[in-house]
């Protein structure tokens, strides 16, 4: 009895897994949108640089060419 119940539960759980837990490749339309990207896209990088300039009242320093002294 207990064993059968366990098997039935497992079957139900496995049935749920595909629909509720895994995002299938064909359901990734929203993930494919630009706004879902973790890395800044080229268009947005320019905007972000502009916002940074206004907020920090300073320009530059965002590239990797700086010496790290913070003097620029």
């Amino acid at each position: 009895m207990y064993k059968n119940l366990m098997i039935v539960t497992l079957i139900f759980l496995s049935g749920c897994s595909e629909k509720l837990v895994r995002v299938m490749p064909y359901e990734k339309e929203y993930f494919a949108q630009d706004k879902m990207s973790l890395s800044p896209i080229a268009d947005r990088a320019e905007q972000e640089g502009h916002v940074f300039l206004i907020r920090e009242a300073s320009a530059g320093g965002e590239s990797a060419f700086q010496g790290g002294c913070g003097c620029r």
């Binding site: 098997i7 497992l10 897994s17 299938m24 064909y26 990734k28 339309e29």
Partner: protein, 164 residues
């Protein structure tokens, strides 16, 4: 032991994809360009078909589409057909994309808003393509986009299936 076997069966059932040698699932889906007109898979009985599951938002699908247009041009007049099935939420997105790539509508296009085909074929990656022989059996499954290199092998397969 019995329980392990049952668990293995369940796992295999979940992970099973549309495999080579399986009978291709039949369907009735609307034509992408005329949504009120249904296209039946039975129409392609006795033909070699490359069924491509795609979406306009999928980068790999966008890359391979021009190659499919060239492929269909090459086999124009033969019993080989490329059948696209778009799973876009908005059919217009798919139409707009194809308008630039395939202005003469060489490729047969379906619209599968309910994602019936990816579920039936247990699609495990986008894009997925299924080469179906004249008897309606899946000959080869291609997961991911088809590049120039894969295209050479695909053409050879199509020619061989057309000869059978």
């Amino acid at each position: 032991m019995k329980v392990i076997l049952i668990l293995l069966f369940i796992y295999a059932n979940i992970m099973a994809a549309g495999k080579e040698g399986d009978k291709a699932s039949s369907f009735n889906l609307p034509n992408l360009y005329h949504l009120d007109k249904e296209v039946s898979f039975d129409r392609y009985n006795g033909k070699v078909v490359l069924l491509n599951l795609w979406a306009s938002w999928c980068g790999g699908c966008q890359e391979e589409m021009p190659l499919f247009v060239d492929l269909q041009k090459e086999f124009q007049g033969s019993d080989f057909f490329i059948l696209l099935s778009s799973i876009d939420k908005e059919s217009q997105n798919a139409i707009d994309f194809l308008h630039d790539i395939d202005p003469n509508n060489l490729l047969d296009a379906l619209y599968d808003s309910e994602k019936i085909l990816p579920k039936a074929y247990r699609c495990i990656g986008m894009p997925s393509s299924y080469l179906i022989d004249k008897n309606g059996n899946i000959d080869t499954v291609y997961v991911g986009s088809i590049d120039e290199e894969k295209m050479v092998a695909l053409k050879a397969k199509i020619k061989s299936l057309l000869r059978k």
